[in-house]
């Protein structure tokens, strides 16, 4: 046989692209790659843990800051009576001013927040002053985002012509992609003067302008999440409605929306969580006066606004006022986390219903 070489089935070079050739080598690499990928995945679990650990340790430091400690030597614990007194360290003789003590109960139930004004003894850390600011801004934002977002989603999902859709969808995506600091600028430069034009009572910094801007920010989030929920409703339900002679309006409001209700609720919860954590808009437009108010024309301060004010200040000395940032962050984290988790739970239940 002269011609031993087959024209197609040539004895090819061993495939060197894969590096290893033995089966054992391949399995070893498989295991190595898998562990590497798993290590990357573990990073997000570690992040969650780190957030919880950091927030709670630093918040504990805030609640323990009535104990004055100098270089590891215990000096004194302040009480409401002794707050403001000067004590001396028994070891090195350095003098310390006793801070006003703050208990967890005072923090979580108090309605007055004034660490930056007044004497050391008069400092009050009542987080409701900040929570009320967050609440009023979120409320105004939701008054904008929920109706507008819901109706836009119904229009996109049930009514819109593909050509209209191809204009509206990118617009919403652009709105969602604009950085929050731009919305803050917009609130300060456009919305506030506009509000003052209609009504004299609005301050330069007010909750309404911030709330409206946060609402605009949340509008695309609400509309896209709600649209996803509406799209997931099976077509057969709609066709059943049309078959009985219902109009589009009736099908949308009486069949599709009720069927997607849990998805819509989840969208609302996730959007509220987003408004509560919104930072740059409220830092620019809402002002920096924490007080318990429900007047939307007044300036106010949210939890995130306080954190920004602390970060902007001179934070080289880790005093009690600075540490309060961590306590506020913990409250913020607990609120947003419970909203997000309940939103995700509601959505997962809804997924099970229609698949």
């Amino acid at each position: 046989m002269a011609n031993t070489e087959h024209p197609i089935l040539k004895p090819t070079e061993p495939n060197r692209r894969f590096g290893f050739r033995s089966l054992r080598g391949i399995y070893t690499r498989e295991w190595g790659v898998k562990s590497l990928l798993a290590a990357c995945a573990l990073l997000s679990v570690l992040t969650t843990r780190a957030i919880v650990v950091v927030l709670f340790t630093e918040a504990t430091r805030f609640f323990n800051s009535d104990r004055v400690v100098c270089d590891g030597v215990y000096v004194a614990t302040s009480t409401p009576e002794t707050a403001g007194d000067v004590v001396h360290c028994p070891e090195c003789g350095a003098s310390h001013v006793l801070p006003a003590p703050v208990t967890f109960y005072d923090f979580i139930t108090g309605t007055e927040w004034n660490p930056l004004i007044g004497k050391e003894t008069d400092k009050k850390f009542g987080v409701w002053a900040l929570i009320s600011g967050t609440l009023i801004v979120s409320l105004i934002a939701m008054l904008v985002a929920i109706p507008l977002g819901l109706i836009t989603a119904i229009y996109l999902s049930e009514y819109a012509h593909p050509r209209v859709r191809s204009l509206l969808k990118p617009t919403l995506e652009v709105l969602a992609g604009i950085p929050t600091v731009v919305y803050g600028f917009f609130a300060l430069m456009v919305i506030t003067p506009g509000l003052q034009f209609f009504h004299d009572g609005f301050n330069t910094f007010n909750a309404t302008a911030a709330g409206l801007a946060v609402g605009i920010l949340c509008l695309p989030i609400v509309s896209s999440l709600v649209e996803d929920a509406l799209q997931a409703v099976p077509r057969s339900l709609r066709e059943g409605g049309y078959g009985m002679g219902a109009t589009k309006f009736e099908v949308s409001t009486k069949i599709v929306v009720p069927a997607a209700l849990s998805g819509i609720m989840s969208a609302f919860l996730l959007a509220i969580s987003r408004t509560v954590g919104e930072t740059m808009i409220v830092a620019l437009a809402a002002g920096s006066r924490p007080h318990l108010t429900m007047d939307p024309r007044d300036d106010t301060q949210t939890m995130t606004g306080w954190m920004v004010q602390m970060a902007l200040g001179d934070n080289s000395n880790f005093d009690m006022t600075y540490l309060s940032m961590y306590a506020v962050a913990t409250v913020l984290f607990v609120i947003t986390m419970s909203l997000t988790i309940s939103g995700n739970m509601v959505r997962n239940r809804f997924r099970e219903e229609y698949q």
Partner: protein, 400 residues
């Protein structure tokens, strides 16, 4: 016509005539159109306002100068370079880790019941991390990266530092700067004393003319160049080379980038997972049928097929990172910088933070600067989004 009777749809139908029902439907349609177009109007008003306020401040000086206190001269050079640095470093860390996590979650689903539970736990974690406010990540970065919880010294007296020289800097009576190299950064700042030698601004050793009191200072500017009053204290400065590295990171580019990495990681993971889910199962099965291992299937079949989706998602997450201001604000504060970052350990600021700083000032001129900054930021984001859209348009293949 049939009687609607007790059907759930009857409540409206009983009361309203068929003609009124279609009228209601039509008016609701117009109401929807009006509502939906408000979003377009809002976007238009926003863009017009920003253009109106910012277009005048756009010029070359604005792009290169540092943010001087004088509004006419101020620019966003350091902020622009800071954004570029942070964007690159953040991408280098976030994209590989994010894609790897997504590949692990989508392609390496275990069959073991307990491992599957662990898989679900990681997925739940990522979904919840996506809902954590970015300002909380700032707090995390402040403790984890900036100070490392105080476990490794302070940024001024670092545990490890490579590629940096410390100097004690004096300003002479003639407003010249003199530097004395310091070996150990923990030693106290130098005090001016007689017989001292120091480096001048041309890196030459010169004798310092230390005089006893202000009255003894020489008269002529030429002689005052290297004259210092005895007992004058110095300021510690650091001169880092491009590979400067220290632990803890301090308020540096690296700390900011790693924090932003944590912010965008859930977004990268979720978008990559969606891209991987879009690859038809039949392609994977063909690979497995040929005897490939799971990783060979991922590397040679799934990842190449999902690359357009992954790239689109990655670019969109990076544009999120560029616009993010809150974590950087918590981490670095609003600092005044006169030079661009030159290493991973340099102080930095980013565009959104510079805009925030200008927008918050009471003077009108700074609002115009903020508007100009927003235009630059929006232009960068526009380029990013355009790239993402183009990739989506041109690489869409039908894989089924």
């Amino acid at each position: 016509m049939t009687q609607a009777g007790s059907h759930p749809l009857s409540t409206l139908a009983d009361r309203i005539q068929p003609r009124d029902r279609t009228l209601l439907d039509k008016s609701f349609r117009w109401f929807c159109i009006a509502t939906a177009s408000t979003s377009i109007m809002i976007l238009a008003v926003l863009l017009v306002a920003v253009f109106y306020l910012g277009i005048d401040s756009l010029n070359w000086n604005f792009m290169t100068h540092y943010p001087e206190p004088n509004a006419a001269e101020a620019g966003l050079g350091p902020a622009l370079w800071g954004t570029i640095w942070v964007c690159i470093v953040c991408g280098v860390f976030a994209l590989p880790i994010g894609v790897a996590t997504a590949v692990f979650l989508e392609e390496f689903k275990p069959s073991n019941k307990w491992l599957l539970k662990f898989h679900g736990f990681i997925q739940l974690n990522i979904n919840n991390l996506a809902g954590v406010p970015s300002v909380v990540y700032g707090i995390l970065g402040l403790t984890l990266f900036v100070s490392m919880a105080g476990l490794f010294g302070t940024p001024n007296e670092p545990f490890v530092s490579v590629g940096v020289r410390y100097y004690d800097q004096f300003f002479t009576a003639g407003q010249k700067s003199l530097r004395i190299p310091i070996d150990d950064p923990s030693q106290p700042n130098t005090i001016a004393e007689a017989g001292m030698r120091a480096l001048n601004s041309d890196n030459e050793w010169v004798d310092v003319n230390v005089v006893d009191s202000r009255r003894d200072l020489p008269r002529s500017l030429e002689e005052r160049r290297y004259a210092i009053v005895k007992g004058k204290s110095s300021g510690r400065i650091e001169d880092g080379s491009f590979y400067y590295f220290r632990i803890p990171f301090g308020r540096s580019v690296l700390a900011g980038s790693l924090t932003l990495m944590l912010v965008i990681l859930p977004i990268v993971i979720i978008s990559t997972q969606e891209a991987l889910r879009g690859v038809p199962q039949s392609l994977r099965e063909a690979g497995l049928g040929l005897g490939s291992t799971k990783w060979q299937v991922v590397r040679n079949i799934t990842l190449p097929a999902a690359i357009p989706g992954i790239m689109t998602g990655s670019i969109l997450s990076m544009s999120r990172a560029i616009g993010e201001a809150a974590p950087i604000l918590i981490l670095a504060g609003a600092i005044f910088l006169t030079n661009n970052p030159g290493s991973l350990m340099d102080d930095f600021t980013v565009l959104p933070l510079q805009i925030f700083d200008w927008a918050g000032r009471p003077h009108k001129e700074f609002h115009h600067l903020a508007g100009g900054g927003i235009l630059v930021l929006l232009a960068i984001l526009f380029v990013f989004n355009l790239t993402a859209v183009l990739i989506r348009q041109f690489t869409q293949k039908n894989l089924t």
